[in-house]
């Protein structure tokens, strides 16, 4: 055996089994989201008023409802598969929005200081002191619910966290010699910020983003649960559970399956996030 192979083997043995398991779970759920039209046995919105609230394993004609049917006779399995899209898409996009807005504002505040900093950081205070849920309810009251609005609401309530991190990091990086050098050489602020500052603060920002991703999944589910997120009949695990709650005694499967998947998704994201953080952040503790 060559030394190259030995080297590769030892690197793989450093990844604990738990991480592998969790990564597989995450991969499955991502696959559910990406390949939903091919994986789902039937149209998730197809109602069958004669087959309402049937238990898992119920078969009618050529169709077997592996996860049972909901209150309109729709296949719970198909809805769960399509529901993965809502959870992942909303979480990913809202983290993207928060990151872009938050990091930009943080860098600007940290670079220009003075009034810009005061203005931006006070805005951060204001935004952080309104609970996200209340802001979401308010926004929905004014603008109505919907996928895009949900992403914007979630993105725009969480950006302050990124701003704080980006601000603090920018302050530290701003004094580094090579940054000072570019400044003296006449480089414009935008160029410095995006080409030099940004790569250096990416680490801590990524740490925040991984933590936020799991939280965004939970928030989307919570808002859909309250009826403020993804609108029926479009499936979202939160909204399916919201309806299923009324039927939890008679048809536990409507809550159980989306709930299990939601839990598995968030759990996996959190475990992976922790592990990534341990490797990215030299200051945190390893297992």
């Amino acid at each position: 055996m060559s030394s190259a192979t030995i080297g590769r083997r030892s690197r793989f043995s450093r990844i604990p089994t738990s991480i592998v398991v969790v990564a597989v779970i995450l991969a499955v759920i991502v696959a559910m989201a990406l390949f939903a039209p091919w994986l789902a046995p039937t149209d998730p919105n197809h109602q069958s008023l004669l087959s309402r609230l049937r238990p898992p394993g119920y078969a009618r004609g050529a169709m077997t409802y592996w996860f049972g049917t909901d209150n309109l006779g729709r296949d719970v399995l198909s809805r769960v598969i399509y529901g993965a899209r809502a959870s992942l898409a909303v979480a990913a996009l809202s983290v993207l929005v928060s990151t872009i807005v938050g990091v930009s504002l943080g860098m600007v505040a940290g670079w220009f200081r003075g009034w810009t900093e005061i203005l931006i950081m006070r805005l951060v205070d204001i935004m952080m002191s309104i609970p996200a849920i209340l802001l979401a309810v308010l926004t929905v009251a004014v603008l109505g619910p919907g996928f895009v609005k949900l992403v914007l609401v979630l993105g725009l309530t969480r950006w302050p966290r990124y701003t704080r991190v980006a601000f603090g990091q920018t302050l530290q990086v701003a004094n580094l010699p090579f940054i000072k050098a570019s400044e003296l050489a006449g480089a414009g602020a935008a160029r410095i910020l995006f080409r030099h500052v940004l790569p250096n603060i990416a680490g801590p920002v990524l740490i925040v983003a991984t933590a936020e991703f799991g939280l965004m999944i939970l928030m989307e589910a919570g808002l859909s649960f309250l009826g403020l997120g993804i609108q029926p009949p479009a499936p979202s695990w939160g909204s399916i559970m919201s309806v299923g709650r009324e039927y939890v005694e008679r048809a536990w499967w409507i809550v159980a399956f989306p709930g299990a998947f939601l839990f598995l998704l968030v759990f996996s994201v959190n475990v992976l996030g922790d592990w990534l953080r341990d490797h990215l952040d030299p200051r945190s503790r390893n297992r």
Binding site: M128, S129, L138, V142, F225, W252
Partner: protein
Amino acid sequence: MLRYATNRLIQAVIAIFGVLTIVFVVMHLSGDPTLLLVPQGASPEMIAELRHQLGFDQPIFVQYLEYLKGLAHFDFGMSVVQRAPAIDIVMSRLPYTIELAAGALVVAIGVGIPVGILMATRRGGFLERLLAAFVLTGQSIPTFLSGILLIFVFAVKLRWLPTSGIGGWQALVMPSIALGAISMSTFARMVRISMLDELGKDYVRAGLARGLSLGSVVFRHVLRNASIPVITIAALEIGNLLAGAVIIETVFAWPGIGQLAIQSIQSRDFLVVQVIVLLISFTYIATSVLADVVYVVVDPRIRLAR
């Protein structure tokens, strides 16, 4: 020090003001409650008359000034839905949310801290992995799901606890657990990290070398030093708890201000919403200012990035 504190205070007041204005504008943009108050058969003239009587036909700027004028006299206005002072309505429901938050904090601290300590002191063992999984589970279950499951198992099936609402300490158990679960994870992790930090320090090794047991080192010195970041986290978690209370109060029919907030937004009871938002943001800002100040006071080594 004093200058710093007053500075923060002024900034806090500005922040509260900003919150108030944003919420006021957003709420008024969504329309007024007149249509929600009248019987279905009301004629357009009746609706317009009531709208005028309640003052909603005035331009938004005028309404805003009226509101500020009232605030200057500590008059928070009358709820148009309940025809009672908004402040009274909110204050009558506040104790329930405080009770819930206290219960959740008890769960979070009472479970989180011991778990965090154990995880730090029993590193690498089976117990640590078990507790780590436990902590992760607490962080990954959505609050409404744990609420639904708890109700289903302990109230409906086992009949050990009441299904909903307030009613003595039994009714407080499930909502506290559901609400405290995520905070519990945060505390556990925080305590673990901060203890690991401390345990690696020289004075610990010195103490152990002198023959002190791990337990006494932990209790006498490590905990005290590790508690500083925990205190600041606790202050900030209160804000998170208030936010999570909204969902928990809905699931458990707990008549606190979270439930009141949602109901008031839906019924366009502006003034009640304003009071609640004022209260929550005041609490959040106060606790974060307090946390900052405590942090600086307690650990003189920390200098702020100014």
